[in-house]
């Protein structure tokens, strides 16, 4: 997983609330290997491209100043709906490193952390203010700094955000979470022994034929 420390990049505003992961990547692309070169074109595919494959000019990432944005500033409940991690893979394939929003779909939020993408929760008035600045100054950059837990706006204002200590450490180091957990093998084994005594019924029986 690529570590995340600090990113200064063009940010794209997405004003629509409740952007679901079906919109981020339509279901018909989920069978594709995330390493295929065209994966980034699946991102927002049906709102980004017309039926003939040409770009829809009204979509923010098709407007030259926002093209290639590495930061997305979204509205409430971005990434709601399906658990498809492909939504994060498509954002990452496009080059997005951070998503800022007043709230995020819970599963999407978790999936970000597994792929080196930083989810930043900021109050609704702050994200609305950031989006307004990005509309007024297309192509403006934001700085997202995980170490200091701050977002620096185009107008120079700095906004502090909370991030869980565990997730922060994992992102800063880009550590493999499974390898970390396998280091807890003895605790897991102890737990299983205790669990087998206290909740023996929780292990399913082999059905009698």
């Amino acid at each position: 997983m690529p570590p995340f420390t600090r990113v200064t990049a063009v940010a794209a505003p997405i004003d629509l609330p409740n952007v679901d992961t079906d919109r981020v990547i339509p279901a018909r692309f989920l069978r594709k290997d995330k390493n295929v070169p065209e994966y980034s074109s699946f991102l927002f595919h049906d709102v980004r491209f017309a039926a003939d494959g040409t770009e829809r000019p009204e979509f923010v990432l098709n407007q030259p100043p926002y093209r290639g944005a590495q930061i997305v500033v979204a509205a409430e409940n971005f990434g709601c709906g399906s658990s498809r991690e492909a939504a994060v893979w498509a954002l990452a394939a496009y080059g997005v490193r951070a998503v800022l929003a007043p709230s995020l779909g819970d599963i999407f939020h978790q999936n970000c952390f597994k792929n080196g993408l930083l989810p930043v929760i900021l109050p609704g008035d702050v994200t609305a203010g950031l989006r307004r600045q990005l509309h007024e100054r297309p192509g403006a950059t934001l700085t997202v700094d995980l170490e200091t837990q701050t977002v620096t706006a185009p107008d120079g204002a700095r906004h502090r955000f909370d991030v869980d200590a565990f997730r922060k450490e994992m992102l800063l180091t880009g550590r493999d979470e499974i390898a970390l957990t396998l280091g807890f093998e003895s605790q897991i084994r102890e737990f299983e022994a205790r669990h087998a005594r206290e909740m023996a019924w929780a292990v399913p029986p082999r059905p009698s034929a």
């Binding site: 004003d15 409940n77 396998l182 929780a202």
Partner: protein, 459 residues
Amino acid sequence: MFDKIWARHVVAKGPGGHVLLYIDRHLLHEGTTAAFGRLAKSGRRVRRPDLSFATADHYVQTSPGTPTADAEVRAMVDSLGRHTTDQGIVYFGVGDPRRGIVHVIGPEQGPTVPGITLVCGDSHTATHGAFGALAFGIGSSEVEHVLATQTLWQKKPLTMRISVEGRLGPGVNAKDVILAIIAKIGAGGGVRHAIEYAGSTIRGMSMDERMTVCNMSIEAGARAGMIAPDETTVAYLEARPWAPRGEAWSRALDSWRALGSDAGAAFDREVELAAGDIAPTVTWGTSPQDALPITGRVPDPAAAGDPGRRESMARALAYMGLRPGTPLAEIPVDRVFIGSCTNSRLDDLRAAARVAQGRRAVVPAWIVPGSGLIKRAAEAEGLDRVFVDAGFEWREAGCSMCVGMNGETACEGERVASTSNRNFEGRQGKGARTHLMSPAMAAAAAVTGRLTDVRTLTA
């Protein structure tokens, strides 16, 4: 109840309030096979194959005789069969009558029981919370993590209790209850929360109905939704193939009976609804929160106070091809879909059949049972004859037209009366327009060709 289950599954404490949570049950489907590939590549094995169960539902087609549409899908399904066989995981594959939608067969076969933690790489995993399990959907990386370690790093969510009290009116059922709940708290209302559904209305529901309610927790933003187990739960589970047996069964019963929330348990948020206020409900927009009683009219974005809301409503109406003020019961439909992990169980099929009986579908209408066993049980009751005689299409089990990834989709611009869980743009096919509703309401739409108040048919 949530706190009791959580506390019993903490393996270790990590920084920042995270805990390593033990996972009692892992359900798998062919959409999550990539995790097996990554696991193999890193030289890791499945830690507890005895706690995992797999089936093929998302990509399998439901037209009789053609389970897979193309070589790509066949490869995915075969890959799941191969990996589960290699690792010793129980697999309900194509041709097995027990195969079905993962959230239908978990309870049906008995791996789903109260008091456990259960995960699946699918957002509708909260369905299993109907049994008093802590069940939630996870992403592909988390699937791999569970396969390798049987644990997940999790932060404790907030808790919300939603109480529904009173008797539901005629023609009103579990789907209407959950749509009303989502409309009330919003599509993001449950974010970072685990929901407990309570109250006399919920307690009076069958397990099939409770699953419908818990299933759509994610449409209100909540990863988990649960209902305390009671005698209805116990009666459903007894003698299921993978439910506890003998001595284990009686010990499980003792544990389950003590699982419910204690009187005076505190929740971070409480929400209350009166059953009598809930009418047969349909959605008009592109978020499950866009739900109204069938007696209502398409809302006017101009009446929305918030400019963001105004814009998203206008966008939804443009996509749905609807004009403000149109009575919902005058909206014509092109197609009907009765199925999905929300509404494909025997109770759902019976409710639809009661409406279809003696009537005639005037638009294409599919019935997709949730599992092969439900299909058989419905046929034993003669429901298939009722549907076929009424011009409905009786199909094989699977996710079908709910999920838009198996080739079973609606056409651009087509309007679908659907018992599924999501009316997102493009969910049932690019440009397809979805109205969510109960099985009875969907059957009513099939026989009239428009959104219909089922009470006007059954009265």
